[in-house]
Subunit: 210 residues, 3 copies
């Protein structure tokens, strides 16, 4: 039996891996390099979470995530010419992954006995950490530190989870609320180009030439 | 009761976080990105140490470090125009942090049963590791590998700790001596622009044009 | 008594450290920075493996690897002018290291009770991971994602190990077969400039100017 959560997990892993493979290919990584970056994007956040929680990384006894990333590589090879046209779909899938990974990160951290604010950090790390490693590998400044609200959507979802739990909702309801908040925050952020302000340069008040 | 060590810890964490926030802002990271880089600079070294020691990272059940980094962000926002004028203060605070973090890194590693040379490495990692992650995030070559003596000051402090311990001094005295050596090494290094030599290029003996 | 494996370990560690020190020096890192990059190249892959296996990193109670890297630094300082002429030797030593580290990574992972495909990944990480950290430190796109077959040679070796084990060979024979496959794959790859294809840009079918 395949559960609904497993379907979401497949969709999210696929979207994360494809984002890594596309960016690596644009930097002229070979097929192996592109696969490594794809896998790292997909499992990197959860791996850092598990290491910080002193647990064995989730993918080490479950081949699903590596196979899923291999499928992503195949997809990029076969449908290369159509990927740009599929951008809206991949954006949606990526956001579904972001939402699901946030929820699983929160729940695993709470189950390990850490305070809720740590769980929110771990949820954010699970969702957004893989993308940071991806950008370090392709030697770019991590995108999520500069573009529309991304990791902050995970924080919003985590706060929503906290309030749901405090109000007495069960885990499933709280998780759904959390995921919905991540999804809606991210969709609104991209639709309306919402991003956080950038701190002005320290000498911005003086006239300057560069 | 707030202890003297806690005051130093606050000062050091604040200085490390502010260095991360300033460099991230100069690269046009948004507020969230700047905060993440600030936190990482402050807690990154100790986190790597704890992971290598197979221990739970120190900040995961103590909100102090994240709050302190939030305070650093607020400080940069409010006193943005005065930061350059505060440079000497921040340099001093950064050095206090470097000294304290080296001592805590050494003591935690010795307590975990590792040999003293491993403790010196862990002290250096605790003090200087956060700055390396910061520089990777902002996509620059890590500064400490190129500028005035920085991580080496931690090594000097660690060696001082070792000799104090061998001579029969208690932990507090050895720790103070270690911190003092780090502090003085770093202050002298910056005052007199002391830096280690760079290996000449391998073809430096032949005439060369670039 | 020094065993044959220890000799190979020395050769491999030396070659890995030297590759890090040379690349760091070319980027004008100071002696300390060059040493850190050298050490990281030599022990980085095995350290990540041990962290993922929830074990204490192998170098933390054995000073051999740090001393070996110090010897590498000395070598580069003394024989700087002759290093280019020694390139073939260092390439061979680097490949011996790659082969040995792959075998130790596989065996440690199998001993920890993980499935064989995880062991192949860990073998590859042990062999090729240090080079990736090195390239992140010197702020370059990791070389192994772009140049001739490197990490893939570890995968081939891992598959060879698996089949040997399935056919009933003992660990020593399987390990030798694995190492030989890594060695031969890598030597052939460099001799014949074998590299994996790069995914074409997504708009490659349209005329393009850059």
């Amino acid at each position: 039996m395949i559960t609904f959560v497993q379907v979401l997990d497949f969709i999210g892993t696929l979207a994360f891996a494809i984002s890594g493979i596309r960016l690596a290919s644009a930097k002229r990584f070979d097929l192996f390099g592109a696969y490594v970056v794809g896998v790292t994007t997909a499992i990197g956040g959860g791996t850092m979470r598990d290491v910080l929680l002193s647990q064995s990384p989730f993918w080490m006894d479950n081949a699903f995530y590596l196979l899923c990333s291999a499928f992503a590589l195949l997809w990029v090879i076969v449908f290369r010419r159509f990927l740009v046209r599929q951008n809206n779909t991949w954006f949606l899938f990526d956001t579904i992954g972001l939402a699901l990974f946030t929820v699983t990160g929160i729940e695993k951290t709470v189950a390990a006995g850490f305070p809720f604010w740590t769980a929110i950090i771990m949820g954010t790390l699970t969702g957004a950490g893989g993308g940071v490693i991806r950008d370090v590998f392709i030697n770019e400044v991590p995108l999520i530190f500069r573009k529309e609200i991304y990791a902050l959507a995970c924080v919003f979802g985590g706060v929503a989870y906290y309030f749901c739990a405090r109000l007495g909702f069960d885990n499933v309801t709280s998780g759904i609320m959390c995921g919905a908040v991540v999804l809606v925050s991210r969709l609104l952020a991209v639709k309306f180009h919402l991003s956080l302000p950038v701190l002005k340069a320290e000498d911005a008040d003086e006239p300057k030439k560069d």
